[in-house]
Structures are given as structure tokens and as C-alpha cells.
Amino acid sequence: MNELLIIIFAPLLGGVLAWALNVRGIRELLGVAGAAVPLAYLVKLYSELDASGQLSHSIDFAGFTFSFSLTHLTWVFAMIAGVVGLASTIAMVSTSRDGYEWLFALMSLTGAYGVFLSFDLLGFFIFWELMTVGSFMMVLKYSRSAGLKYFVLSVVGAFAMFLAIAKIYALSGSFAFPDVANAVYYAMGRGDLALVFGLFLVAFGVKAGMFPLHVWAPDAYSETNQSYTAMFSGVLSKTGVYGFILIYMLIGYRLMVEFGAFRSAPKFGYIIAFLGGLTIIVGGLLAALQEDIRKLFAYSSISQIGYILVAFGVGTSLSIEAGIYHAISHALFKGLFFLIVATIIYRTGKTTFADMGGLAEKMPFTFAMAFVAILSLAGIPPMAGFVSKWLIFEAVISQNLPILGGMVFFGSAIGFVYLIRFTYAVWFGQRPTDLDDTKDAPLPLAVAMAILAIPNIVFGIAPGLVVKELNKIFGGEIVTSPTLWELNLGFGRYNGLLILVWLIVGLLIAAVIYFLGAPVRKVPVTDTYQSGNPVTMEYNLTIRRNFFLPLKEALAFWLRISFDKLYRDIGAWVEDFAEVMRNYVYNGNVQSYAWYLALILLILAMWGV
């Protein structure tokens, strides 16, 4: 079944050709083709997958055997990569200038596909590294410090994973998932097991942006081509999430047996869930305090990933299914948000909130897309965001884990808060004079945004579509969905269509009352009730900057603890240590070198005598 290989390597091939030919028209065409081919194949393979349940393919290469497989789970994740990847590449048509970006963007997409479809640990690791390098080079082009911080953290994660893989390989002698699973189950000691879990936690935590390891995300997401960030945060963070599922698949059962459960959630799962909860809160609060539009959405992306981690941490099949559902909806609305950010930056060239404002009239289409994205991310009922959040709430709270329930609930409000902050600063209020002639989104970006907006609405109203696929992963009827519009969990029911219908009814009633009243007179934005002094264009009164000052004061104590500073200090300390050691060890004096030789002779003598 070498279609799997085509799916994986098509983007890279497209990227390399695009970099090689580097002609304005052809390069974009190749790039988009590179992203579209895998998606087409995935859709084609769906029927075969339905029939046989798993399509696998293995090749012998460089002395190792690499196996690839497409199961329902990996099909779902691959589809996420496909859809968001395609949207992002279409958007890149307008925002990226040279072949360099096409090559590395599509290389990271190949990495993501490879991670999802590989069925052995070594293949998984290789594509993981490929993805890291691809995304790193995209960031390195814009800023060195952000790039290096991202690279060091993700390479530390990758090497932690490699150490764990090596330890398992030393035990099982092969990399394929089935052998690994039963080798870990039967032969692994308790200490090694804990070490391997810790290493995997670090490795996938870094890529998913879990709380203590999330510091790279804001810089990396903002210091790159914004339409690539849609793929970066939409798809690449999902590889981290997929990794957590891998932990469950490969060593989960043994961890459950070895370390027992804490109130129906496995102990190791509870660690993931708790860190996920912290990620939600930290990500959300920091997002609200940001001044740069890209950073706000970077932190919001981290906070949303926190939800998925909480869902996975709880460990029941319902919560994992809810987590995957949220992974899908997060990929959609986060991808959409970053495309919106890309359009804004592409049109206005501004990135901080202070210089923006009042774009709603000038960019109506983008604002409509933003409105859809806001509803979905904040979790307003008829949207996909709400369904997945609702599933996660139900799953977490029904496992009577009160603290996690509280964290998740708090998270939903934070989402609400920083979105309003974004809306107020960018769309409404007084418009600075230099933004008066901004045009609406260019065609490629508009198409990309549309591609991501539609599923947001569809999956909200008709969650049955998604739930039918997800149930196949777990085999049983985890979430029963009698009709396409309805979900029934036994202790909670949701009906997308009904909510939409009654919302429209409500709106109609309000509209009727509205139009009964007298006609309205359009008044410009500057003519507002100012208790006395009229506001003119020059004197632009707005609190776009430092919108949440009171929140910052309330959280002043917590904001002092910053892991970013901690890692930076460690980096600086390592470099100083290296400097001192180098000048001390290689001090240029041949006599001290002779002393080193004598020292080794002494060691040999001590050893021997």
C-alpha cells in the first residue's frame, strides 16, 4: 500500500520542486498541489479503511524495518493535517515570497503526516525531527533568538523521546508498536517505566506546549510567516497531542497496572490532566495581557491545547474521544484565527493592538470569519467549539474530579475574555487615520478562511458526523448520536439543530420588535455621547492599549514567576560555564597539557595497582 508513502512524501516533493523552480506562478501551484495530493488520497482511502479497519505497509531501509499504517485514529489526525495544511498553503500563496518558505513549510507538513502514519517508533522519531527542523527553519528566517529557543526546547524533547525509544529498543529489540507494547508490558522494570513515561511526557509536552514547556510557542508562532502559523499551531501541536495518545496506546496499560488510579483517573493520567489544567489557566490569563495580536493567539492556542490534555489525562474512552473532538475543532478555529491575523497583518502591516482599530467596516468578510471563529473558540452553543468543550466538561466532571472541573470551567471564561479584548482592539472603536484605505482579504486568504470556517459551523450543528468517525476508533458506541444533530451521553444531551432553530426564532422576535420601532439614523463612530467634550479624529480616545490593566495588577504576584526567564537563565548559565571551562581547560600552556597526560597516567596507575 504505497499510497501511504505518497501521502507522506507528496508535500516534501512539492516543497523541493517549488524551491528548485522558484518561479512566481509555478512555485505556488506546486506548493498547493503538494498539500492537496495527500488530502485527496486520504479521502480516497476512506472507503478502503472502512472495509478493512487498518491499511499497513512496511519497507526495509538502512538496516531497519519501517512500517506505516492508517487506522481510524490516524485517519482523523491525518485529515486534520490535510484540511488545515491545505488551507494554510493556499493562504501562503499570498503571504510567502520565496521558495525557502515553501520548502520548509511543506517539509514540516510531511513530518506531521509521517508522525501520524508511522507505525514504528524509529519512523515516528525521524519524521518528528523532520517536522521540527522544517518549522525551525521557518522561524529562523524571521528571528534568531526565537528560532534558537524553539529549536533547543524541541530538540531537548526529541532527544528525550529518543532516549526513551533507545531504552525500549534495548529491551524489545524491535521498534514496531505491537512488539514495543508487549515488551514494555512484560519485561520493563518499574524504574525504567517511570523514566520512559517522564521522557515521553517531556517530549510530547514540548511539542504540544504544555505548561512548563510552553515558552517557545508565543515567540515561534509570532516570528514566522503568519499563514504558516495556521499550520504550525493547527497541525504541529496536534502531533504532540497524538503523542499523548501514543503514551496510552503503548505504555498506558502497564502504567495503569503499575501505578494504579487516583479516583478513577489513572495516576499518570492525572499528572497530564493537572498540567493541562495549569496550561489552560496560564495560557488564557497571559493571552489576555498581550499587546501583540500574534502573541495573543499563540497563548490562546496553548490554553486550548490544555483542554485536550485535561481530556486525555482523565483517561476514560469518553474523555479521550472528547479530547480528539476538541483537537479537531481547535485545529479548525485556531487555523482560522491565524489566517485572520495573517490577513490583518498582510493588509495593515501592523501587529500591535495600539495601532489597529475600527477595521470592521473596512474588512467585512474577514470580520464575518472572525465572528464565526470567536463564537467557536469562546464555545457559544451552535458552534463546533462548544460541542467539544461541552463533551470535555461532561467527561471530566462525570469522573467526579472537582478541581479539574473547576479549572476547565474557568478556562471557558478566559477564552471569552481575551477574544473580546481582540475584538475591541482590532475591529471596533476609533480607526487610526492611516488604516482608512485597507482593503478586504485577498482571494487566496479568503478561500482559505472559508475552507476552515464552514466545518466550524457544520461540526457544531451536526456533531453526529464527527462522533460517528470517533466511535469507530474505540469500536463501541461511546457517544450515542441517534440523529445527525443530536448527542446523547446518558447523563447529558445536546441537539445542535434545535438550538439553531430556537436561536433564529429568538432573533426573529427581537427583529420584529426592532423594526416596529422608528427608522434609525446612521451616525459616524466619532459622534458619541462624551459627557461634554466632543471627540475629534485627532484626539482618539480608546483603551486599546493595556486593556486589562486591573487584571495585570490582580495577577502581579503570579506574573513574576516566568518559566521563560528560567530557561533563558539556564541557557546563559550553560554558555558562561562553557566559556569558563574552555578558558580554564585549554589555557594554552603546554605544561598544563603535559599535566593532563600525567593525570591520565595516574588514573591508569590507580586503576591498575
Partner: protein, 238 residues
């Protein structure tokens, strides 16, 4: 104060290393017959190589490759010294010549020293010493000339050519051995042509050992004097 500490530390570490080496050497008692391959050489040296002096047989014939490497090392030394001390224009800066005793003595002695050197490397396979001591004595002859006369210089361009030729000669001998006997550095004179098989112990015996030793003698002589010449000269400051 620091140097005292350093010295005492050095002494202590030296003693420990010494003790360790001594322990190692205790396992190889002095004076005992520890030979294994050595006996084979002693028994077969006469009929296999025709040399009376077993050491020269081992040096040139049995372990010929070592000596080839050996000659190369010396060649590298002389080239290296020439390369490092190379200046555009160089000349001798000695001011004071040798005293009359030295100048007259050198004029008289140099030919005999050279003859004695030649004797050593020609009789390498019979008497102790071989190409290297012979070459060294020749070099001392040139050194005598340098010390006696302030203006004397060896024709170093010619000497370098001789060095090259001698080296090539040695390798050619080896290659001829390869061509005739099938093995590189094969003693075809003794093994194939069986020359001098009957008169072991006299001059014309020992296969290609005398040939190689003469080549080495000339080469070592020229190289060492080349090194002396390089080290003596100073750069000419314009």
C-alpha cells in the same frame, strides 16, 4: 610557593607512575630468555639471509618495512627542518673560524672519517653497526668542516638530489624484489640468485643487505648534514 607545591605534586605522581611501571616490569624478569620469534631468527639467519650480524638481518631483511619507515622518518625530519627554517636568502654568520689545530686537523682527518663511515655501512652484515651509524659518521665529517671554516657550505641543492635518489634506490630495490620474487622487499639476490651463498662471513654475502645499507648510509649522511646546514644559517635581513 606555587612552584614548590607543583614540584612536590610532580614528584608524588612520578613515584606512583614509577611504582606502577615497576610492577609491570616485575612480570617481565630481567635476563630471562623471553625469546619466541628471536630463537627462529637466530637459528635461521645464516642460511636464510646470509648475514652474520643477526641484528642487521632482522633490521633489513626480516623486518624490512620498519627500516623503510625508518628511512622515511629521517627524510621527513630533514624536509621538515628545511621547510620550517626556509628563508628567501640565508647565509652563514659564523665570525670566528677554527683554531689552526682544528683547521689543519680537519683537512687531514675528513677523508679518513668518511672512509671509516663507508667501512661501517659496507660491512653492516658482518660487524656491528650499519647504514645509520655509518651515515652519522660521514655527517660528522661535514660537521668538522663547518666548525673549522666559516665560509664552508655543503652543496645543499646537490645533497637534496642525492637524498631523493638514495630514497628512490631503496624503494626500487624493494620493487625489484616484488617483480622478481613476488614479495615487496624480497631478498632476490640471496633467495633467487644464491650469490655469495658459499662465502658467509665474508664481504660478498648477506644478499641485498650491503646494497641497502650503502644506500641508507649515503642517505643518512646527506640528510644529517643537510639538517646541520639548515640549523646553522641565519636569515639575511635586507
Amino acid at each position: 610557593m606555587v612552584s614548590l607545591l607543583k614540584r612536590s605534586l610532580a614528584i608524588i605522581s612520578i613515584l606512583v607512575i614509577g611504582y606502577w611501571l615497576a610492577q609491570g616490569l616485575a612480570g617481565v624478569p630481567f635476563g630471562e630468555d623471553k625469546m619466541l620469534v628471536g630463537h627462529y631468527y637466530l637459528q635461521h639467519v645464516k642460511e636464510q639471509t646470509g648475514a652474520v650480524n643477526a641484528v642487521t638481518a632482522v633490521v633489513v631483511n626480516y623486518r624490512g618495512l620498519d627500516t623503510l619507515g625508518e628511512v622515511t622518518v629521517l627524510f621527513i625530519a630533514s624536509t621538515g627542518v628545511a621547510a620550517l627554517l626556509w628563508r628567501k636568502k640565508r647565509e652563514r654568520t659564523a665570525k670566528v673560524g677554527g683554531s689552526p689545530v682544528l683547521t689543519v686537523g680537519t683537512k687531514f682527518l675528513v677523508p679518513f672519517v668518511m672512509l671509516f663511515g663507508a667501512y661501517i655501512f659496507i660491512h653492516g652484515h658482518l660487524t656491528p653497526g650499519g647504514g645509520f651509524p655509518g651515515g652519522a659518521t660521514i655527517a660528522t665529517a661535514f660537521l668538522l668542516l663547518y666548525m673549522a671554516f666559516t665560509i664552508y657550505e655543503i652543496p645543499h641543492k646537490a645533497f637534496e638530489k642525492v637524498e631523493g635518489l638514495a630514497g628512490m634506490g631503496y624503494v626500487l630495490v624493494g620493487l625489484i624484489g616484488l617483480a622478481i620474487g613476488g614479495y615487496f622487499l624480497f631478498d632476490w639476490i640471496w633467495q633467487d640468485w644464491q650469490w655469495g651463498v658459499d662465502n658467509i662471513g665474508r664481504l660478498f654475502s648477506g644478499g641485498f643487505i650491503p646494497i641497502i645499507y650503502t644506500i641508507i648510509g649515503i642517505k643518512v649522511g646527506t640528510e644529517l648534514s643537510g639538517i646541520v646546514d639548515n640549523m646553522l644559517k641565519e636569515e639575511v635581513r635586507e
